[in-house]
């Protein structure tokens, strides 16, 4: 179950010289995964996730999503696949279109054949999950702030009740408080529902704090797939793919070099680093 890729290749144009996905194999569990896909612009991150809910189809290799083999074939129904895997695009606030927030969130479940009553129930539940004020539901989505609109778009994806939720750069353009609020909300939702969450992100501080597993894309290849600890301790790999350390890890390394602190495992968040600094002195 979940998502499985075996040797997946993809090119946007048949004659294109390089592949957008190049021999990608991966396996994503349907429960409790919190994955970050990182890599530079143009590395294939968005192309990769669009294969995960059958918006794009592999040129070769196999993709299985919840026991359904995904191929470009009219006999295969794509709706059940998209019911399993929900995808929230970058800047989803540009995609809200209904007259009220509630209608907008109800669009997904209605599209998947739910009755109006049930769709409304699912929409209200989803809006509670993302922490939208009830009084906002009757307003036009266009009167909301950027952060609120993004919550509406995420609620829209959640109302379909997918098993796996993918978000393409969910925190871009939000202010620092909005970023943390959104990530805390995803984390709380996962603790409650155990849905797997996949985010595309460039923000290593967010990646280090909230995700467990990291996939690094480079020129269409999946060049790293492992724990965040394994990635951030692999200096050669970070250098090769020009990836930043989380701020706390950078500070920790510098402080260690100055002999001001010592540690066995590299701290990745400011909480971990604070603990090391304060904990150190206890042992002296």
């Amino acid at each position: 179950m979940g998502i499985n890729f075996q040797n997946v290749d993809f090119k946007y144009a048949k004659k294109a010289s390089h592949k957008q996905l190049d021999n990608v194999s991966l396996n994503i569990d349907e429960k409790d995964e919190f994955i970050a896909i990182v890599g530079h612009t143009g590395s294939g991150k968005s192309t990769l996730v669009q294969h995960m809910n059958a918006l794009l189809f592999a040129n070769s290799g196999n993709i299985t999503i919840f026991d359904t083999k995904v191929v470009r074939n009219k006999k295969i129904k794509l709706k059940p696949i998209r019911k399993h895997v929900g995808l929230v695009f970058q800047f989803p606030e540009y995609q809200v279109f209904e007259t009220t927030v509630l209608d907008d969130i109800m669009f997904g479940p209605k599209n998947f054949g739910k009755t109006t009553d049930l769709a409304k129930e699912l929409a209200i539940k989803a809006s509670q999950l993302v922490g939208l004020d009830e009084e906002l539901l009757t307003r036009s989505p266009f009167t909301l702030s950027g952060g609120q609109m993004r919550k509406v778009a995420i609620a829209g994806a959640l109302a379909i009740d997918p098993d796996i939720l993918i978000l393409d750069e969910p925190t871009v353009g939000l202010d620092p408080k909005g970023k943390i609020e959104l990530m805390e909300l995803l984390l709380a939702m996962q603790n409650k529902t155990h849905k797997s969450i996949i985010i595309i992100s460039h923000d290593m501080n967010i990646v280090a704090k909230y995700t467990k597993r990291i996939m690094v894309m480079h020129s269409g290849k999946l060049v790293f797939d492992g724990s965040k600890e394994a990635l951030f301790n692999n200096e050669a790999l970070l250098k090769e793919y020009n990836l930043d350390l989380p701020t706390a890890a950078y500070l920790a390394k510098e402080l260690k070099a100055m002999h001001l602190i010592d540690y066995d495992s590299l701290p990745l968040t400011k909480e971990e680093l604070t603990h090391i600094i304060l904990g150190d002195s206890c042992n002296e």
Binding site: H40, T41, G42, S145, G146, G147, V172, G173, L174, D175, P176, K177, G178, K179, I180, H202, N205, N242, D244, T247, A248, Y250, L251, E254, L255, M258, L260, I261, K270, L273, T274, I277, L278, S281, C282
Partner: protein, 273 residues
């Protein structure tokens, strides 16, 4: 003074709340000001007021000692340019060259002079190799650099960067911040950056923190960073290094000497990043 705000307020029609609330400040020529605030604090409204894209509800704005009003606005706009958040929304040309030329053509600059300016400023932003490229095929950082070249070609004294990096990836963000530093240090431009990232305010001469349309902090980056309580109350997230200093200062677990050494190191590292 390049800019002077005298008791400026602004509110949208049909709304009682002042987005900008009795704001007064001055900005000297050749200096760099960072305006910092959370989304909705009013910081971008200040940029729009300076550019004359919005009209103050009350109070007065002076640009180079001239009152900004309907009569003076066209002349005063020649002194200012603005780089917006989304590079995709500011492109008008089919090639990078056309795009940089757009403002110059509007001002009917002779062709030879125009070509000289294009190559001068494309070189400055390191985009000479892309003059014939379609802007759509550029990275976010490259697009913003083209927008900067277009602004520079107008040879305005003031350049405003309105969250110019917030849609860019880390590489693009670094490119643009390096460019802003270069314009400040080598070209003596008057610069305003509008941002919600404390990191991007660190290399300004002066930082103004806006909350609810009011100035809540105004000083050097070092002075402003010390006011952690006000920064947090203004909806800004402390830089990790500074947040850790705050935790360390509260503790009795470390010796005074150790505390000072680590805090000093964290402070310096934060400004070095």
């Amino acid at each position: 003074m390049f800019i002077e705000f005298k008791d400026v307020s602004f509110k949208y029609p049909n709304n009682d709340k002042n987005v900008i609330d009795h704001l007064s400040f001055t900005l000297e020529k050749g200096s760099m000001l960072a305006i910092l605030g959370h989304n909705g604090s009013g910081k971008s409204t200040i940029a729009k007021l300076i550019m004359g894209l919005l009209k103050a509800t009350s109070g007065s704005i002076y640009i180079c000692d001239t009152l900004l009003d309907e009569k003076s606005i066209d002349d005063l706009r020649q002194k200012m340019s603005i780089i917006f958040q989304n590079p995709d929304n500011q492109f008008v040309g089919v090639t990078v060259k056309d795009d940089i030329a757009f403002g110059l053509e509007n001002h009917q600059i002779p062709r030879q002079e125009m070509l000289e300016k294009i190559s001068k400023y494309a070189t400055l932003v390191d985009m000479m190799a892309f003059l014939d490229a379609n802007p759509e095929n550029l990275s976010g950082g490259q697009k913003q650099r083209v927008a900067i070249a277009g602004a520079l070609a107008m040879e305005t004294e003031l350049i405003i960067f309105d969250e110019a990096t917030s849609m860019l990836d880390p590489k693009g963000t670094k490119e643009i911040n390096a460019m802003i530093k270069k314009l400040k240090n080598e070209h003596n431009k008057t610069i305003i950056t509008i941002t919600h990232n404390l990191e991007e305010a660190l290399f300004a001469d002066r930082v103004m923190v806006i909350n609810d349309g009011k100035i809540v902090l105004d000083g050097s980056p070092q002075e402003v960073l010390k006011e952690q309580t006000i920064l947090e109350a203004s909806g800004l997230k402390l830089i990790d290094g500074i947040a850790i200093i705050k935790e360390i200062e509260k503790t009795s677990l470390l010796s005074k000497e150790n505390k000072e050494k680590i805090c000093e190191a964290l402070w310096e590292l934060t400004f070095k990043m």
